[in-house]
Symmetry: C2
Subunit: 425 residues, 2 copies
């Protein structure tokens, strides 16, 4: 499939490169040209798209989510965290079948596409179903190990690591576990050894709530970051999801070990966890990426909301409107997300890179006038502006229509069927 | 024009009334029927719309904004507040012509429509241009007086009050001034007398920043709310825009005098003002409504973003996921906003009320599954879900297309022309 997109504004997200007018060409899933418009070349294309001046940029990367959880969207909200988790979420999750997770993941991937997201970093149970959902519809997913004391062994993680990194071109896998507070020390030690065996980064929920950090301090006399690091967990880097409550020492460890902080601002607000000190992290040279978290806690899988909050919350908390520049936030969403997940060929628009990209519709009231495209996207953008989302050279979403091998109505019927059954069980 | 919308889910927002399946009929700008579906009635309609199960609810009310300011969207961001205001915004605003404000207001109204907003409470200069923009396109606007020491007299406000309350069925006017810190005591005393003369509420920016409150305390030994109240400003109620820094005494005054608090969470984040104590206000029985503020400070005129933030920020600040229930937030956006602006016939869907309403597209990934429609809207909704926006019985926006007497492209060209000229001047 060879596609040429011309008359486009292009933001490649390569460092220092400004927005320019030009064309971008795609062949067999890769970008084969991005640059000035080339007139008079005799080439045949399967499709030529006049972008009409609209903006191409690398797709957003949802660097932390739980896709199968979409079934529980708006199922239980506005209640205290412990009740929400233990009385509502966990009992329902126990009822999930492979098929439930499959359709929940398809639904999540559809929503990602509507928000210009071209890849997700997914931590969920029944991992085969999630992987199959993405592979079937052509969506790019990095799976994340999620074992803990209540399910899974380190041998499972190793097997998944070997299996899913060979499973499908759109699927990959990173070593991970649920969290320090749900995983015993022996299991954590084994996981650290596994990471070292494969010279691989390790990912986990980290310091999401204050009580989680206090619990770890009681158990081990160390914060989660310091404790996990002391086990050799981050010898090859890795990442922490949330990182709301981080000590100076924690931040120092993140910087030294190159541990990604993957922030989830909407979720942290909605389930009352707090606000992560991102501005401080940025000043300390810590690498930041952005995730939506799952639909039970957010409830919206929308990178535009997250981008605004990443900068908006810091401005309010620091009482300084100058912190967290919009372009920096766009870099987190497009580029850093890819690097955090190990998708080193999905970070920018350049020849040889994967054709994972989004076209932003500037012909909408909220994008006008165009005083600054990047700021318009971060501060004013919404799903309504996603004109087209391409993953691996294939257009999966365009002008509100999906090309994912299944009709939306069927997906909505399937998830409704699943949740209806689960509520009755 | 007689329109019947059937096969609809309907949330009238009348107290205690649940969502039901039915139809809603509109004639000459008013709702003439809302209830169970009536089969077999022989009536002719100019248009019958099959809602396909999608949700009808009262339009959102943007209870504080500066529409003409859209020209400055993304013109100056990520900079300290004082520099932003005095070096960037004010000098540019001095260059605005009537025509600039007209087209900026048309653009803002278009964006309101895309977000399901059916009325705005607008405070801006060159008020004739803003009023004309709304009247021309069929949008409902309540104008708010904005005088201060740098422009306008109380006689102007009185004249505007008499003029614009007779000007056009879609336009009304409320007495207002910019803020305590920009308006001298004699002017404020005159304004208070004007409010009393007409037994009218008075509206103003109030306690948006900490320094504003400190300044007032230095000048008068009182907070802005207490000082203005001591002048007799709120004898017939009124409202405060922002109200981020409010003392216990301030809240007591708001409750006793029925002063509306109109919150603008995105703007308060982005220009680093802070987070208003809404949950506390609610507990004290203070009436709350929601605004977007202007596009130079937000930069997005989107009620979905504001609704999420109204509840999300309170949950995080109070560290309690149970505060600010979604339905309460929806009431602020749909019903309270109308009442705060004096639009007593635009608050709920009921016979005899104005046909100002929105249809929410539930056939989108972010609205599925439908565990709870109200929570889906507040926590997961976005502009992409606005299928139709009707003002005064006329459909102004439907399936991404506008019916406002002017083509979007022309509006975008006009605002681009304006801002380009202003940058050169």
């Amino acid at each position: 499939m060879r596609i040429r997109i011309y008359h486009a504004s292009i933001l490649t997200m390569e460092p220092g490169k400004e927005i320019f007018q030009g064309e971008l060409c795609v062949e067999d899933g890769k970008i084969v040209y991005v640059g000035e418009e080339r007139d008079g070349r005799e080439e045949t294309w399967d499709r030529e798209i006049d972008a009409g001046g609209n903006l191409l940029l690398p797709g957003f990367k949802n660097a932390h989510t739980h896709s199968g959880m979409t079934l529980l969207r708006s199922y239980a909200d506005d209640m205290p965290l412990q009740d929400w988790l233990f009385k509502q979420v966990f009992p329902m999750e126990d009822k999930l079948t492979e098929e439930d997770v499959y359709w929940g993941s398809v639904l999540a991937n559809m929503e990602y596409l509507t928000s210009g997201i071209t890849a997700n970093f997914d931590m969920y149970k029944k991992i085969d179903a999630g992987a199959k959902a993405s592979a079937d519809m052509g969506f790019r997913t990095v799976l994340c190990g999620s074992i803990n004391d209540f399910g899974g062994t380190v041998q499972d993680v190793e097997q998944e690591y070997l299996h899913f990194n060979q499973y499908h071109p759109l699927i990959s896998y990173q070593i991970g576990f649920h969290a320090e507070y749900t995983t015993s020390r022996p299991l954590l030690e084994e996981l650290a050894a596994l990471g070292q065996k494969y010279k691989a980064p390790v990912y986990t929920h980290n310091s999401e709530t204050k009580s989680e950090v206090e619990g770890c301090l009681e158990r081990y006399g160390k914060t989660p970051t310091a404790f996990l690091d002391s086990l050799g967990m981050f010898e090859y880097g890795g990442g922490g999801f949330h990182c709301v409550y981080m000590s100076e020492e924690d931040l120092q460890i993140c910087r030294e070990k190159g541990i990604w902080v993957i922030t989830n601002p909407s979720s942290n607000l909605k389930i009352a966890s707090g606000i992560a000190p991102l501005s401080k992290m940025l000043q300390k040279g810590i690498r930041l990426a952005i995730g939506t978290d799952g639909a039970a806690s957010n409830n919206c899988l929308d990178m535009f909301r997250e981008m605004f909050l990443v900068t908006g919350l810091q401005k309010a908390v620091c009482l300084d409107a100058a912190v967290m520049d919009a372009l920096e936030v766009l870099r987190m969403a497009c580029t850093n997300g890819a690097l955090a997940m190990g998708l080193v060929d999905c970070d920018v628009l350049a020849e040889g890179k994967c054709a994972d990209l989004v076209m932003i519709d500037l012909q909408q009231p909220n994008m006008q006038p165009v005083n600054n495209m990047a700021k318009n996207i971060v501060y004013s953008g919404s799903k309504q502006n996603v004109k087209m989302t391409m993953v691996n050279g294939k257009i999966l979403y365009e002008d509100g229509r999906f090309d994912i091998g299944v009709e939306p109505e069927e997906v909505y019927a399937k998830v409704t069927e699943s949740i209806t059954r689960m509520k009755k069980e």
